[in-house]
Assembly symmetry: C2
Amino acid sequence: MVEYLSSSLDPVFHALGDATRRAMLRQLAQSPRSVTELAAPHDMSLAAASKHIKVLESAGLISREVQGRTHTCRLNAAPLASAQEWLSYYEKFWTSRLDALEALLKAEDAAKAKPKSKPQPKSK
Amino acid sequence: MVEYLSSSLDPVFHALGDATRRAMLRQLAQSPRSVTELAAPHDMSLAAASKHIKVLESAGLISREVQGRTHTCRLNAAPLASAQEWLSYYEKFWTSRLDALEALLKAEDAAKAKPKSKPQPKSK
DNA sequence: TCCATATTCAACTTTATGGTTGAATATCTG
DNA sequence: CAGATATTCAACCATAAAGTTGAATATGGA
């Protein structure tokens, strides 16, 4: 039903790859904020914060309503749903398994074409 | 129980912000692969693919076992769990709600200090 | 040993990122 | 209108990213 282009995930994950921007999303999860409010907790110029906001905006993660001189930003979580959808594919790799062990089990499971009796010791 | 540093999400989300790397993770979800095998479907030099693999590796998303001249890469999904955990915070913003509408509702919900009777028409 | 295979390394190019500062623009307010 | 506030813009800088090519390294196999 909900179909997401893989390519549209690029800007979303990219936007999430920065702690400042993730923090801004958390702020917006509380309530809409102006640019100044969003910038306040972060130790950087307003112009820098403005750029981060633009990154979030162009990833579709926030929308902006201009009211006079202030821009009110709101969270738009929809693209996060598509990110989570992408990640959900991998749930089977950690659900109800220890992850390192899981990797081993999964490898043997899936690699039907590659029967390897045991891991070789490192040559170095 | 599982506690993840926000900072460790930076390299994870960054790694996911590239379609080539996401595709490589999908490949590895099928079975472990050598560098050559991982590179094959992607239209780039082996050296470029090798760099992508290194990005995934340093984000902790894959591990590598060197056996002779081939390096076998395996998926390590654990950091994806922490990414999903981060995203899960936002589930409430899309679960059982239309997303645009949801933003509105949520805004009213969370902004207890800001009772706005109805959305203002855009000033522009 | 010789050659092919697997992978990385080094150097380089181009473009993107994240930050700065100072000026510009627009709006609100007395 | 004048000044303060909100935000962006433009220019600039330093570093990182993503790709290339060609050489280096290591291993496997005849």
